[in-house]
């Protein structure tokens, strides 16, 4: 679920980060603050806001329901909650990385015959990939640990919307600490693998261009 939510936000996060890195117009500060809001707000507050937005009583929720798209208390809600909560982490990290790419290098790529998208793929992304990757891992770990917002809009339905974080809490509440510990072990293994992989990729790939 955490991986899926990360995959969902990746393209949007990169686009938003790129937009913020280059946007210079009015409202930049407000836009950045709005995007970072889920970082500061209690997750339950975000959860209840999403719940209000998506419930059948709200216009947007009703509009979705009319198209047969039920989100609340389904696995889609889990994805949505994790995505909303981890999105700012990806955007912040990727934005910093994009801002550090010398815009003149992109300009040179353009003079060498590449359009804006090709210049992005061949210059901006290869130079900023470490920041983007770091943001992706941060977002993934945030999604893995997401609890508050998920429990508000997805509930805690075993086998359906129960995430690892929720299951650990649930098992502990019903006195099954042994199962909770096993699950905790699983999260440790997942997080460790993801972080270690990132470290490894960053170091081996990094060595080449610094040699």
């Amino acid at each position: 679920m955490a991986a899926l939510s990360t995959a969902v936000i990746l393209p949007f996060g990169i686009a938003a980060a790129l937009g913020l890195a280059h946007y210079r117009g009015p409202g930049k500060g407000a836009l950045e603050t709005l995007l970072s809001l889920p970082l500061i707000l209690p997750p339950t507050a975000v959860g209840i806001l999403l719940l209000e937005l998506l419930s059948r009583r709200a216009p947007f929720g009703a509009w979705l329901a009319a198209r047969g798209l039920e989100v609340v208390f389904t696995w889609k809600a889990v994805i949505l909650a994790s995505a909303v909560m981890s999105f700012p982490l990806l955007v912040r990290s990727a934005r910093t990385a994009f801002e550090e790419v010398d815009p003149r290098l992109v300009g040179i790529a353009r003079t060498l015959g590449h359009g804006p998208f090709a210049a992005f793929v061949r210059v901006t992304l290869p130079l900023a990939w470490r920041g983007v990757l770091a943001g992706t891992v941060l977002a993934f770990s945030r999604a893995l640990g997401e609890f508050g917002a998920t429990v508000m809009i997805a509930g805690n339905i075993p086998g359906k919307t129960q995430t690892l974080a929720l299951a650990i809490f649930h098992d502990n509440q019903i006195g099954r600490d042994d199962r909770a510990l096993v699950l905790a072990g699983v999260t440790v293994a997942l997080a460790f693998t993801a972080l270690w992989l990132t470290e490894w990729i960053t170091r081996t790939r990094g060595r080449r261009s610094e040699a």
Binding site: L105, T111, L112, G113, A118
Partner: protein, 355 residues
């Protein structure tokens, strides 16, 4: 052939440039912050807010009134910024072949012209300043540009490296015949390499014309107050090891003796640097003089600059050669030098630096 009339609002002043130059090299001079780099970026299409009209070799790149803005990727310019601007994540080979049109012949020729083949597998971080500049030049040439934009390609290099890049620029000038806009602070460079000189000040053109004709504009020589060098190309014709001199030809029948440079093959091109202060002026031919190089010349103009006078002299028998000679006002008075005076210019071999 470049024809441009562009406006671009900048933070300090509005850039307004009207520029017209033929084929060959256009040198762009002016104090730091006078808008030279911005102008290059406008020509490259990297300043979308620029207004006006740019025509290069009959193709319209920008015409605000007609709504034409050719994006940078379709202008085919070869842009070399001051610090080379190599892509750090690609090898030298990757950089040179980065251009979108896979024109291997051009890339190969560029690699040979700039002698960077041994560098191809290396990454830019491991290159010296001069090597970076050569790679950036090769990368620009590999796309067969219609216009070359060079932003002070020699400024970030020390004197020794500068001397090593200059011959490459001369080669590009001779062999690739691509029109070029060349930003420089060095009058000697401008005189040696450019057919046309544009002087910018605070975003506007202060003067433009043939480089030799612009020496009277205060800004031009003022920039060179520290040292004014004549850069001259010559072809090696003989080495005289016991005599300690290498003889090179400036033009048919006109030779110059320089300190022995046995490493330069016969027939190869040399770039010579002679400081304007190191040239002696005589009103009569000088018999029995230790200086090996004496040339009849004609003074075409005198420019008072600070505590000295800069003479512009055309050397007889050497086409297109304008030498700058710096003497004291007292010497001018004593010798009664006026525009049109016939003089003899003498240069010691050891005052000639090979670059």
């Amino acid at each position: 052939m470049i024809e441009a009339r562009v406006d671009l609002p900048l933070a300090r002043f509005p850039l307004h440039v009207e520029l017209k130059s033929g084929a060959g090299v256009t040198a762009l001079m002016g104090p730091s912050g006078s808008g030279k780099t911005s102008l290059l970026e406008v020509l490259a299409g990297l300043r979308p807010r620029a207004r006006g009209r740019i025509c290069v070799d009959g193709a319209t790149w920008l015409d605000s009134t007609a709504g034409i803005i050719l994006p940078p990727q379709r202008r085919r310019v070869g842009y070399v910024p001051q610090d080379a601007g190599l892509f750090p994540h690609l090898t030298v080979g990757g950089n040179v072949r980065f251009g979108v049109r896979p024109d291997d012949a051009a890339a190969e020729t560029a690699i040979d012209t700039l002698e960077i083949r041994p560098l191809l597998p290396r990454y830019p971080v491991s290159l010296s300043g001069g090597e970076k500049q050569r790679v950036a030049l090769a990368r620009a040439l590999a796309t067969r540009p219609r216009l070359l934009l060079l932003d002070e390609p020699l400024a970030s290099l020390d004197a020794a490296l500068r001397g090593r890049i200059l011959p490459y620029l001369m080669r590009i000038r001779e062999e690739w015949t691509v029109p070029c806009v060349y930003v420089t602070h060095n009058v000697g460079e401008a005189l040696a390499i450019a057919e046309h000189l544009v002087l910018l000040r605070d975003g506007a053109v202060e003067a433009q014309g043939a480089p030799a004709d612009l020496l009277s504009v205060p800004g031009v020589l003022h920039e060179a107050e520290g040292g004014l060098e004549n850069l001259i190309t010559a072809r090696v014709v003989a080495h005289d090891a016991p005599g300690g001199v290498t003889t090179a030809e400036l033009a048919a029948g006109v030779t110059v003796a320089v300190p022995i440079a046995a490493g330069r093959p016969l027939g190869s091109d040399l770039t010579l640097a002679i400081r304007a202060e190191d040239i002696l002026v005589a009103m009569e031919p000088l018999p029995r003089l230790s200086a090996r190089n004496v040339y009849p010349a004609r003074v075409s103009a005198l420019e008072r600059t600070g505590a000295s006078v800069t003479l512009r002299c055309s050397v007889e028998g050497v086409p297109r050669a304008t030498w700058l000679v710096r003497v004291t006002p007292a010497a001018i008075e004593a010798l009664a030098i006026t525009p049109g005076s016939a003089v003899w210019l003498a240069v010691k071999s050891h005052s000639i630096r090979l670059v």
